[in-house]
């Protein structure tokens, strides 16, 4: 397991307390899981994705990740409509372990303006992990 200072926590994404990240790309936001989350889960063997068009509320469960030992829910870091899902993860879930920031899970069109700004910065998230 990685020490806190070994975690890859890029500054160009924002984080949720549930260990998802969000990155604004124009009108939409890509969503994935943090390096901390993938490290805690271990080998991810299955990813269950939502349907394109699904309407999510902030904090709503939108899919599951299965690692060797556990089944974990993934929660929407902000409200919006799912406009795309990363289907490459269906056949290659291990990509989330290999590079959790390049391999996004869903793409959302946000429906609540301020929610993105309420997410945690890198420093805030690091402070949360450090307890």
């Amino acid at each position: 397991m990685k020490e806190i200072d070994e975690l890859n926590l890029p500054g160009d994404v924002y984080y949720s307390p549930e260990h998802e990240w969000a990155r604004k790309e124009g009108e939409t936001v890509k969503v994935g899981i943090s390096d901390y989350a993938q490290d805690q889960l271990g080998d991810i063997v299955f990813v269950e994705l939502p349907d394109v068009g699904a309407i999510l509320e902030k904090g709503e469960e939108f899919g599951t990740l299965e690692s060797v030992k556990a089944v974990s829910e993934i929660y929407a870091p902000l409200s919006g409509e799912v406009v795309a899902v990363n289907k490459t993860l269906v056949d290659a879930p291990e990509l989330l372990n290999e590079d959790p920031y390049d391999n996004w899970i869903i793409e959302l069109r946000p429906s609540v303006e301020d929610e993105y700004d309420e997410l945690l910065s890198r420093d805030d998230y690091l402070a949360l992990l450090q307890g």
């Binding site: 271990g42 030992k69 089944v71």
Partner: protein
């Protein structure tokens, strides 16, 4: 009242695990590795194709010795020591090992164990982590003659060397590999946990007890050795395997390998319910009729008087999807009737379905493995039901949120190597079959 916590124990390999960045967790009162940075999937597959090392120094180890040792074990253990070895069953003898259970009077499982006979009146009893004192107390309670039951837990190191290349790696450490290995059949042992004329010596003169048993369903060995020598031997094994596929393995791959091999996890797949109608009923001392027990033993009356029937079955899914095992997790039959609970649900990462057939990454192509086979893994585990099921029956596991269709199976992971001949496994290298 004090609130002092019991200290979590460490095996002698604890510092090695930390130095090699293992993800650690508490298990059975010990801090143990779950997996190392290469991941549980890699570790699981390495045991199928190469060799994996498991630190099992947390297991409980007892020695039972003396005039009354045999009668004590015969009374407390679920195997009939007169008829537990071989196809035409013969007695447990020095150099042989047997798997079985210690049951409570009511027929529930206290623990499972492997007993190795070391000498005429001397046995090694290996139980699960933290169970050494409990099983020792259980044995002493039933002793009826001169017998010494000593709990060696923590003082004996233990390393499991598992996988098709296990003998080839072990050869590099043994002082006289041909003498030790050549005639070692499945569930046999050589050496002792104490120095003496019967000891098997490594090249560095470390005395070991070597048994051809294991955790995983694959070909391999368990090495018992003085605790102080454990780290050195562990590193020597890794060095001996450096030109092969070798991996240190944690508890996650132990669980997935065991489940895929239809081996129970103690206190999870067998535990505080009657031991009956299980895939492991061969550990009960049935007589030739298969209707009665061939001896009286602790738990026999409880089992015979049992009225509440339950049934344990292995299952395999159709993809890697699992179900969390909680109080809400149930088994539904095809009429949506709840018929039981889930005991274990994990993923065997070395198998997948080709059509309806389950194939392993090590299955020969002649057994149906496509040349370009890439196993995604299959969920598998054990259910406990309130009615009999048949192999092939489709059931559904659900926790109320998700639903996973699975199939009741007799077996899960094909082409396991545990029982292959020593000659075949030692000759693999010449044929280039291990990496």
């Amino acid at each position: 009242m004090t609130t002092e916590k019991t200290a979590v124990r460490k095996t002698v390999l604890f510092d090695w695990h930390l130095a090699n960045h293992a993800t650690m967790a508490e298990f059975g009162g010990y801090q143990m590795p779950l997996w190392y940075p290469s991941g549980a999937k890699h570790e699981h597959r390495t045991v199928l194709t190469g060799v994996g090392l498991f630190d099992t120094s947390h297991m409980g180890v007892l020695t039972v010795a003396g005039e009354a040792a045999w009668s004590l074990l015969q009374h407390c253990f679920s195997r009939d020591l007169r008829t537990c070895i071989g196809i035409k069953p013969g007695p447990l003898t020095p150099g042989r090992c047997v798997y079985g259970l210690f049951l409570r009077e009511n027929g529930t499982v206290l623990d499972d164990a492997i007993i190795s006979q070391l000498g005429p009146e001397r046995y090694l009893v290996v139980v699960n982590s933290g169970m050494g004192p409990i099983v020792r107390e259980h044995l002493l309670l039933h002793a009826n003659g001169p017998v010494d039951v000593a709990d060696r837990s923590g003082r004996i190191g233990k390393i499991d060397v598992q996988g098709p290349a296990a003998a080839l790696v072990l050869e590099g450490l043994l002082g006289d590999p041909d003498k030790v290995l050549s005639d070692m059949i499945y569930f046999s042992c050589k050496g002792d946990v104490e120095e003496g004329p019967t000891a098997v010596l490594l090249r560095d003169k470390t005395p070991i007890l070597l048994s051809r048993t294991g955790y995983t369903g694959e070909f391999g060995f368990e090495i018992y050795l003085p605790a102080a020598a454990t780290v050195s031997v562990w590193e020597q094994l890794l060095a001996a395997g450096r030109n092969r596929e070798i991996a240190a393995c944690g508890l996650a791959s132990r669980d997935s390998l065991r489940t895929g091999a239809v081996l129970p996890l103690s206190h999870q797949d067998i535990g505080d319910w009657l031991f009956q109608n299980t895939p492991w009923s061969f550990v009960l001392p049935w007589d030739e009729t298969g209707q009665r027990f061939s001896k009286s033993f602790i738990g026999a009356e409880g089992l015979s008087a049992a009225r509440d029937k339950s049934y344990t079955y292995p299952f395999a899914g159709y993809d890697p999807r699992k179900i969390p095992v909680t109080d809400k997790t149930v088994v539904l039959d095809r009429h949506e009737v709840a018929i039981g609970t889930v005991l274990t649900c994990t993923t065997d990462m070395g198998i997948d379905r080709v059509g309806e057939q389950i194939v392993s990454i090590v299955s020969p192509e002649s057994a149906g493995r496509p040349a370009d086979f890439l196993a995604r893994g299959l969920s598998c585990g054990f259910v406990k039901t309130n009615r009999p099921c048949v192999a092939g029956e489709q059931v559904r596991l659900t926790d109320g949120k998700r639903s996973v269709p699975v199939e009741i199976r007799r077996d899960i992971r094909p082409d396991r190597t545990a029982r292959r001949s020593m000659r075949e496994m030692r000759n693999q290298e010449m044929r280039g079959e291990t990496r």
